[in-house]
């Protein structure tokens, strides 16, 4: 087990190196001159002298590989460079924005879990009746809607018409609910499908027949016996959705004026803020690798038979 963990952790290093190289390479292939971009985003007229000075300042006059290794060396010292747009260290900007995204992602995750489990429970209780069919139909329809459109629709109904929430920003606790609800729709559908399937599968197991034979009510059987067992099988998919949840806040953060890394990323892409884009790619890649690893560990913990392989 220990060897496995060390092996997996060591494997992350070449993977991250590969990702960092691809990120650096791709952004260097973009036709815009980063020196000129850096000047333009600062509203400075990119005269030839100013471009030459900025190229020197950014080290763009050096060969590609030297620049890459220099960048990598800086990253190892937690220096991701300075943002072209904000003129501040990239790491500071990301660390300032990350809590807002994590807060939104956590709210979305909890909301998705609570709602999808509740609906799954309801669907299983009423399985194959019209209630089950209608709930699933509505859920999957909502899941298929583009979330920017859904976000605007929810703002209109719940913030403007019913005046229940602020339209945008992160000023009070209830500001997180609308963006979290919007984001959660995609995950509610996914989790519902997984949970419902897993619970129905569990309902075929002998222990359920035994529980029924004992005269336990159906709802209690599902809540107390079926649900915990179904959770084990859905845990992997749910865990893997966490990094994509963090990476997927981009559009919603813009619509709800949420000051997280998603908005930072959009501003960076539109302004060609290369140091910021590169750092964002690395961060998201790292999140996916770490969560993959953690979920694998969790699976090993829950299913001892896997350890033998």
């Amino acid at each position: 087990m220990k060897n496995y963990i060390i092996h997996r952790m060591l494997m992350m290093i070449p993977l991250m190196l590969l990702i960092s190289f691809i990120a650096f390479l791709l952004l260097n292939l973009v036709p815009s001159n980063p020196a000129e971009v850096a000047l333009r985003v600062g509203n400075i007229v990119p005269t030839d002298e100013a471009i030459a000075l900025m190229q020197q300042e950014l080290g763009l006059d050096k060969p590609f590989l030297i620049r890459y290794f220099h960048w990598l060396w800086q990253i190892l010292h937690l220096d991701f460079g300075r943002s072209f747009i904000f003129r501040t260290p990239v790491l500071t900007e990301i660390l300032n924005a990350l809590p807002a995204t994590l807060y939104l992602a956590a709210a979305t995750f909890i909301l998705s879990l609570v709602i999808s489990f509740s609906i799954a429970f309801l669907c299983v209780l009423t399985r194959n009746t019209w209630v089950d069919k209608v709930i699933r139909c509505i859920t999957f329809t909502l899941m298929a809607l583009p979330n920017y459109w859904l976000g605007l629709l929810l703002i209109w109904v719940f913030a403007v018409y019913f005046d229940l929430f602020p339209v945008s920003g992160m000023l009070s606790f209830n500001s997180v609910l609308l963006p979290a609800i919007t984001l959660s729709f995609v995950y509610i559908g996914t989790y519902l499908r997984l949970m419902r399937g897993a619970m129905l599968n569990q309902l075929q197991q002998p222990y359920v027949f035994y529980a029924r034979a004992r005269g336990l009510p159906e709802s209690r059987i599902i809540l107390k016996h079926v649900l915990p067992n179904a959770l084990h099988t859905t845990l992997v998919s749910i865990g893997l959705s966490i990094p994509s949840l963090i990476a997927g806040t981009v559009v919603i953060e813009n619509i709800f004026a949420w000051p997280g890394i998603g908005r930072l990323c959009v501003a960076a892409i539109l302004g060609r803020d290369y140091p910021m884009i590169q750092a964002y790619i690395l961060l998201i890649a790292l999140l996916f690798l770490v969560f993959n690893f953690l979920i694998d560990l969790l699976q090993l913990k829950l299913n001892p038979s896997l350890r033998r392989h």
């Binding site: 400075i44 007229v45 003129r87 309801l122 229940l164 602020p166 945008s168 209830n174 619509i255 004026a257």
Partner: protein, 524 residues
């Protein structure tokens, strides 16, 4: 069973409703912008001009009638035939950190700007200032290398010649940041949360008339639709269409029709034009450029897309802009003349085809625009249809800002938009930019045989002391550009404002980039 369903659905709604609270504020204006105020150091270009204008002031101001009014300088004299400007400063002004505003503060600020000349290359005045001398505590002189006629106009602009407390300088400079946003203006930046909001409160020691509002809260809402809904809900009370394109006309009219908001439009302020690249194979022919000019149905753009919110433009600058009331060739919508010009240029329409050809080559043009702009896509599509009527295929490319600018800089376009900067930048600062390679105007004019003479003339205009001579030079410049059909003037844009009916005193500054918050108040 039904009860169970009801309970499961009701619980989340109950939880949600627990967190609902009212949003009450007192005499505070909530304004929303798609952009953060960012670093408002007025000696740099990172921050929003409207916010910079609230905190930092200039020696003089530009009036609507084109005249220059006193501000931090109560009077001035122009000496040595325009090479020396002596300013007599107000003596009752302090920066909001307690530092006195005097001649020394003016010199330190102007020297700090001049120490960073490369950043202000767009502005002629920065390159013309030889020195700034303190005469006495409240008299300061600005010495120029040559007489430069827009001196006072450029000193009044929002940046860079605005005054920061010398206490806030870092090592005597401002180019690497400032330690505080201490200005002399009517507002103080009290609270700021990046990408979220900024709170401006009244400067209690302001030398002039104090604002009536207790505070202005600048909310950052990047999505335009969300911003409109925030207004409808009452979370914000003002949307001020800086740049002329913050609000599209449909939303503007829809909100106006609800009867819950007041709408206001400035007088025509800047030119919305299409610039034609004289260095590209097809558009290098003046006949083709003229044909394109005749083919555009400007009335349809003004009424169909802009709902008559902008007036049709025949000349590059509106005639109300200084030095621009000149007689030049104009091109009114006439597809027949356009077709004839294309025939004369050798672009014929083969039978059975819809696109003209010459030497086996199709008459196909590239038109790129910035997707950030709310109306440019619609106008592009209308132009595409207009050009199709005379046998021209227009490939429209909507691009994000930087790609659009890259194309602009390399001249990789046949047509692009060119928005002038409006008053008080027009015409002097705008034509000055024709000489810089990063501008579409420069690239588009590059194919003209007398581009060098055009640039020299612009230089002469800016340093001419004789008004008559200056007018003649402007006449020559505008005539050349019109004869060569480098621009297709479309409309003169106007700044649009939508605000709560309780808000009063909403008005416009001369510059479309400034918002006169200090004049606004709520009806009690």
């Amino acid at each position: 069973m039904r009860l169970n369903v009801f309970i499961w659905l009701a619980i989340p709604l109950l939880v949600i409703s627990l967190f609902v609270k009212a949003d009450l504020r007192d005499n505070q204006l909530d304004y929303a912008s798609t952009k953060d105020i960012a670093d408002i150091n007025p000696h740099l270009y990172l921050g929003e001009m409207a916010a910079q204008n609230m905190v930092f002031e200039s020696l003089v101001t530009n009036a609507v009638d084109g005249s220059i009014k006193p501000h931090l300088a109560k009077s001035w004299q122009v000496l040595d035939e325009g090479k020396r400007y002596r300013f007599n400063l107000r003596q009752d002004v302090s920066f909001n950190d307690g530092e006195k505003f005097n001649a020394q503060a003016v010199k330190l600020n102007m020297d700090a700007v001049l120490a960073n000349k490369a950043r202000h290359a767009w502005m002629g005045l920065v390159n013309e200032i030889e020195s700034v001398n303190v005469i006495d505590d409240y008299t300061v002189e600005v010495n120029l290398f040559h007489p430069y006629y827009p001196t006072l106009t450029e000193l009044a602009l929002t940046r860079p010649f605005r005054f920061i407390s010398p206490k806030a300088f870092i090592n005597g400079l401002t180019q690497n940041g400032i330690t505080s946003n201490a200005g002399t203006g009517p507002w103080i930046l009290k609270d700021y949360k990046k990408n979220q909001y900024a709170t401006f409160v009244i400067n209690p020691h302001y030398w002039g008339e104090k604002p009536k509002l207790a505070a202005v809260i600048w909310h950052v809402i990047p999505d335009r639709q969300t911003m409109l809904m925030a207004l409808q809900k009452g979370d914000i009370q003002l949307i001020f269409g800086a740049d002329g394109d913050m609000v599209d006309m449909d939303s503007y009219e829809n909100l106006a029709n609800t009867g819950r908001f007041t709408t206001l439009m400035s007088s025509p302020i800047a030119s919305r034009t299409i610039v034609l690249n004289s260095k590209r194979p097809i558009t290098s022919d003046v006949k083709v450029r003229q044909a394109l000019s005749y083919a555009v149905d400007k009335e349809a753009i003004a009424s169909g897309i802009l709902n008559d919110s902008e007036t049709v433009a025949d000349t590059l600058m509106a005639r109300s802009v200084p030095y621009s009331d000149v007689s030049v060739k104009t091109y009114t919508y006439n597809p027949e003349i356009a077709r004839k010009l294309l025939d004369d240029a050798g672009w014929r329409l083969p039978s059975g085809k819809q696109i003209r050809e010459k030497d086996g080559c199709e008459l196909r043009l590239v038109f790129s625009y910035d997707t950030n702009n709310a109306v440019e896509k619609d106008i592009s599509e209308l132009l595409q249809n207009d050009f199709k009527q005379i046998g021209i295929a227009l490939d429209i490319i909507g691009e994000e800002k930087q790609t659009y600018r890259d194309r602009q800089k390399t001249g990789d376009f046949d047509l692009q938009y060119s928005l002038s900067w409006g008053k008080p930048y027009d015409p002097a600062s705008f034509i000055a930019s024709f000489r810089f390679s990063g501008h579409a105007d420069y690239q588009a004019q590059l194919g003209l045989p007398d581009k060098k003479e055009i640039d020299n003339t612009i230089g002469k205009i800016l340093t001419s002391t004789d008004i008559q001579k200056r007018q003649q030079l402007y006449q020559w410049l505008f005539t050349r550009l019109a004869d060569e059909a480098i621009y297709i003037p479309l409309t003169y844009s106007r700044t649009k404002v939508i605000y709560s009916q309780d808000l009063k005193g909403v008005d416009f500054n001369v510059s479309q980039y400034e918002i006169p918050f200090e004049k606004m108040y709520f009806k009690r």
